[in-house]
């Protein structure tokens, strides 16, 4: 009897380190929450699977990524109010700035921490029209013709709509020059808007499923999705002469990852977005990749057009937000004038 005990003791002494090694090789599973904006559902579903597989192969750790989607502003608010997001991937920098300013969950210089202004992909704003383009819409100037109905969500609640609004503004500025004439253009544009949805997905539904309007101002990725999947053969994409470079950034939420002990895997997740496999998934989901090799390979699917940027043409998001979308800003003025 005693011999068995001794043997067992010896065996466990010998096996102990091996067992410990095994524990090191298979650490406790981790869970990340990615709080994202409205149209990225399909994108992150693919990315999350690919990242989890890659992370498991590299570290042996099982990682599950939970997703939350909604209007970008509402999503930022939920993080401010305590949603335990490890990473945020929102429609525009201003919403992540708000999380940094109001809740201090990440440093205000967050956008400097990852390459390309923390923007692993970009997109632009294009027009989606009904098959054959019956109203002959080719550029921003056609949107203010009488009898054309334009669908765009409410820029107060939708990140995508803010890009739409600034894209139109940028076109008008380039075409008409003075601010008064730009405002005229915007008033005429919003006279042609019959419905204001609160988010980009809602606007797509209104245009595609409810048959409202002649043209939808949309994220390029959302327009491709509508053309290729939602209503095959029922819509055309029209690429205007100029548009805006829409940059949806990503950021680590420091306070949350440190509390949950997920910093390492969350950082790896964001860095993974810049790798070639992720960039290929990004291009496949109709977002424009920043990796030059992937961009060259998929150039045929993304038409070239002149893009202005939020930093160069609008002085950054903080200024654009205050000038255009705050209470009493240009959008409120345009709208008050448009209803008359």
């Amino acid at each position: 009897m005693r011999r068995f005990v001794l043997a067992g003791l010896a065996a466990s002494l010998m096996l102990g380190p091996i067992a410990l090694d095994a524990a090191k090789a298979a650490p406790a599973p981790a869970e990340l929450l990615n709080v994202s904006y409205d149209p990225t559902r399909e994108l992150y579903r693919s990315i999350d699977d690919a990242f989890a597989a890659q992370w498991k192969a590299k570290t042996g750790q099982q990682v599950t990524i939970r997703q939350s989607h909604g209007g970008s502003g509402a999503q930022a608010r939920s993080v401010i109010e305590g949603a335990p997001a490890d990473v945020v991937t929102l429609a525009l920098g201003y919403d992540i700035d708000s999380i940094a300013d109001k809740a201090k969950l990440l440093p205000t210089n967050w956008q400097k921490r990852l390459p390309h202004n923390s923007t692993p992909y970009f997109s632009t704003i294009v027009f989606l029209v009904r098959k054959g383009n019956p109203k002959g819409i080719h550029d921003w100037g056609d949107l203010i013709k009488p009898g054309v109905q334009v669908i765009t969500p409410n820029p107060k609640t939708s990140g995508g709509a803010r890009w739409n609004y600034l894209a139109a503004w940028g076109y008008a500025k380039k075409t008409y020059g003075t601010d008064d004439k730009v405002r005229d253009y915007m008033v005429k544009l919003f006279r042609n808007v019959p419905v204001l949805d609160s988010g980009a997905r809602g606007a797509t539904t209104t245009f595609v499923q409810r048959g409202q309007g002649d043209v939808l101002l949309a994220w390029e990725n959302e327009a491709f999705l509508a053309v290729n999947e939602l209503g095959k053969g029922k819509f055309d994409i029209v690429v205007p002469s100029v548009s805006i470079k829409a940059e949806p950034p990503v950021a680590l939420v420091d306070a949350n990852v440190d509390r949950k002990g997920t910093r390492k895997v969350a950082e790896a997740y964001l860095q993974y977005l810049y790798t070639r496999p992720a960039q290929e998934i990004i291009a496949k989901n109709y977002y424009r990749p920043i990796d030059p090799v992937v961009a060259a390979k998929t150039a045929a699917r993304f038409p070239r057009l002149q893009l202005f940027t939020i930093d160069r043409n609008f002085g950054g998001w903080a200024r654009a937000q205050a000038a255009h979308f705050a209470d009493g800003g240009s959008f409120d003025q345009v709208f008050a004038a448009a209803k008359r």
Partner: protein, 269 residues
Amino acid sequence: MPGLHLTLGMTLLWLGLLVLLPMAAVIARSLGLGPRHFAEVAFSARALAAYRLSFGAALLAAAINAVFGFGIAWVLTRYQFPGKRLASALVDLPFALPTAVAGIALTAIYANTGIIGRPLAAIGIHIAYKPAGVVLALIFIGLPFVVRTVEPVLADLPKDIEEAAATLGASRLAIFARVLLPEVAPALLTGFALAFARGVGEYGSVIFIAGNMPFVSEIAPLLIVTQLEQFDYEGATAIAAVMLAISFAMLAVINFIQARERHWRDGGR
């Protein structure tokens, strides 16, 4: 009376925690704005248009429900017909259905591609994405309130008093106006008030069908949400406080009418 202290204590605690405390928080937060800023936000042209739509549409919908809900309650209590159980269950559907589902379904049907919207659009009537859409959604969600409050009163009403009135030579209209209606009026008013109150606060079903255009088809609850999305919590609570005040005043008026009416019926002293 047994258990008075216990149940009274429970009632006060419950109302205090669940109703009074959140309301007080809304008002306290909105006061943080200062009177000038409060007035600017709560009484802007856009906010006024939103109150007008929210309260106007809720009143109209409740009035329409009072008429047709009464009719449905009458049929359900007085007649036997095949499928009556099913009809009765259908009345409750708006209670049970998630309001977003109701909004999406109504929009799908009444948009000018939908099965009702298309023929209506052909004759120039548009409901979805117009203020009429708001009224439609509020009629939908308010209907069961009227039917379910009127129904038990009608069921308790003995049939003989109508027969007695008839034998005394009263016309059908007179029976309705002078025998039935006075009996049912308090319940009808309660149903109306409930449907109205529900309609004022309704958000989920309305935003899908309203069109949400500022000054035209934007309801006050949406304006509150919009303020929140701009991180303007004080602005949101200011609008909420105004809605609270108007709702409270209107419910108080309805209660007063009911009390007067009861007083008058009980002998008028």
